[in-house]
Symmetry: C3
Subunit: 331 residues, 3 copies
Amino acid sequence: MRLKYVIEAQQFEVDWLLNDLFPLADKMERIVKKKHGWYWLRYFFDRRALAGKEMISLYYEPSTRTRISHEEAMIKLGGKVASATEHAKVFSSAAKGETIEDTIRVLNSYYPDVIVLRSDEEGMAKRAAAVSLVSIINAGDGTGQHPTQALLDLYTIQKEIKRIAGISIAMVGDLARGRTVRSLSYLLGKFPDVKIYFVSPEVAQMRDDIKDYLKRHGVWFTEEHDLRIIAPKVDVIYQTRTQKERGKLLMKYEKDPGFYIVNQEVLDLMKEDAIVMHPLPHTEEIAPEVDFDPRAVYFRQAENGLYIRMALLRLILQPKRNWRFWRRAKG
Amino acid sequence: MRLKYVIEAQQFEVDWLLNDLFPLADKMERIVKKKHGWYWLRYFFDRRALAGKEMISLYYEPSTRTRISHEEAMIKLGGKVASATEHAKVFSSAAKGETIEDTIRVLNSYYPDVIVLRSDEEGMAKRAAAVSLVSIINAGDGTGQHPTQALLDLYTIQKEIKRIAGISIAMVGDLARGRTVRSLSYLLGKFPDVKIYFVSPEVAQMRDDIKDYLKRHGVWFTEEHDLRIIAPKVDVIYQTRTQKERGKLLMKYEKDPGFYIVNQEVLDLMKEDAIVMHPLPHTEEIAPEVDFDPRAVYFRQAENGLYIRMALLRLILQPKRNWRFWRRAKG
Amino acid sequence: MRLKYVIEAQQFEVDWLLNDLFPLADKMERIVKKKHGWYWLRYFFDRRALAGKEMISLYYEPSTRTRISHEEAMIKLGGKVASATEHAKVFSSAAKGETIEDTIRVLNSYYPDVIVLRSDEEGMAKRAAAVSLVSIINAGDGTGQHPTQALLDLYTIQKEIKRIAGISIAMVGDLARGRTVRSLSYLLGKFPDVKIYFVSPEVAQMRDDIKDYLKRHGVWFTEEHDLRIIAPKVDVIYQTRTQKERGKLLMKYEKDPGFYIVNQEVLDLMKEDAIVMHPLPHTEEIAPEVDFDPRAVYFRQAENGLYIRMALLRLILQPKRNWRFWRRAKG
């Protein structure tokens, strides 16, 4: 079964994640870092794996980080980025009132191999996939989902904690609008014995659709209002950023800013082998001193994004044969 | 004779269109769709036809569609897009008061192979070509011309109706500001027995320069105010979009919106083998139900844009020898 | 010693400029113009010198010219431009409050080979280099420096006047905000017997940091208020542009516009073998008639920017061996 659309976190199965995607991401890291042992000739082969393939980046809202990450992933595998459109909302035919369906139909007629779509409207990626013959990667749709981010988050947990089943995780901050925590919750719901602590002010609590999903899947979760009470209990603190750019700034963080901010006080409370994650860019929700703590993994997390996106592109665009060949050679 | 500048629709001769450009565009479609019969080895050769060639995209007003189409055309033939500037008016040295002539002189000094220029000022492409040693493709200049669009429109008519000479065409909507209908009128004026119906509100009638050109070339045309009267008579309905983004919104479409909108009523009146064209993106000037009618060819029309632009790039950038060789091999 | 960061003009030594950079730039010109004498096979080798290398362009303020120049330089040597971000200040994570250090750390984790950074804040390139393992090229930081511009300016003087030591140069216009003249002053201070005339209105005089630097290095300089008095004495008139886009427009050019504008009157006063330089784009500070005088070298100067940037990229990214090989083969 070839991967065709990357639309939402729920679409992925645990088995596929642990046995296909993550090992391939590991391999991508070796390719990028040129750690190939005796077979460095393979390196040149891998760097040309997607030669002749074309990506179109279509961005309805800006995201330098996500865009560069996807484009670098494509280029590192020998593919070409046909065209990068920033801030399509202001600049492009969207401003002329065209529907996403029509835009995707026209882009399809230029025969790219994959379209990376970032939008500011929930559900747009799904609508795009419904009319697209070309592969679609959802690079975030409004307050909806951000599946590649969720995959790299999960991959980071697997890499740092060495397991996903049975972990305890605190998701902190603006959970109502933060699509990264939404997508990650969907994925975590598929693993056994995961405990989720949603730590947020009243106004920014996790929305009901996620909570219903977790209940249906029998995932233990609770809602809290002070990170310092939760910090000693968890393996992962997933801090989110205040969503200034989306809607009005809501987060007064109530009376005590310490309620939701990761700082030295929280670090002191944390377990020795716990980690602090963040989708970046981070501002005041993580204190500057945290950057120097070995448990702060967010820069490694960003790096993992490159490997996960390379792996996804390869699974989407690569003829199955090569990839099977590698599996066989490896196993 | 090598093609050097693509500035205005009038510059092309009927013979060159029918015998050089359109057959090459047909070939480009076969390359993109990998329909090469027994000689698939040629495929790899063709996909590298423009290897080592560089395009600079210079956009003084946004146009995602035109830009991606040109860049995809370049990439599919193995060329490189050196740099894509969106909305140069706001962002670039144009904002510092530089003339187009100076900008083109400097870009020339970087030795690209072709410059694709989109501007918001009539005549800018002509001024650019006057000082450029490098090939220039006009990708639309204000209310002036949009020659590659006109070529793909004509190519679409040829492909769908199987002839251009003798057709009847209704051009509908904002004809005063719509550069696509202006450029297409120039081209149609070169074919015998073409009948043109300009269907537009009083305030958006076709300008006199085009009407004079058509009179000089002995082309039959008339001006109408209700598409429903004209629909049964024509082979092609060319609907244009309301130019909201250029100048003030003018089109109240008078009392009856049906006067200028393509909807089911108009479809019922049309001939069985007539077609509806539109430069896209379309909004309310074409009713949603029209998309599903087989006579609505506008998505195929957009696709033809890729092939026409690939053919143009090849005629501009390719050493003549290869192209002749292909002609010989073919004929 | 491999070149790693290009941050400020002071970092370069005279010997390296005259014996390494400028001869390599000469070679780059021969590559671009395909003037390779008998060994045209080398051409294909040189055009692929940076194959597999990746550049990230990060622009916090717009600069079409600098950006296209860097990207063309990369592409002409076979490298890839991973991603070009325009106007990051408005569009990117910078708007979300991220520090430059964090942005660079994340970009590092995508393993590009060089990051070209243009910012609107003095000292940003230095801060970026402090945390970057990847090479950084400063493409201008606010009112700070613009070292690649200074290098191409110096290269142009060398090429046109055939010497740098002992020249007399008039720097004219807004010297307080013009980073090109600031960077060039630093470089000129390293050559013996250079005479600098700073010609500017009271409000736009060269800042003290540069004047202190020149005093320390024993460079002769003076400040003047009328270009027409200085014009007959100098080998080079370096005109700068009025910095409309940076801060408020200051330059009323006092009573007599002729004080600071290069026009026919100034041309008539100049030496026969003197030259007029300008970083471009130019507006009213150079009269239109000057363009046609053979002493106006500013378009050739812009072209030299391509060669200098190609040479810099090669010195940064190329394995030393090849480059030494060329030196040996040549000498």
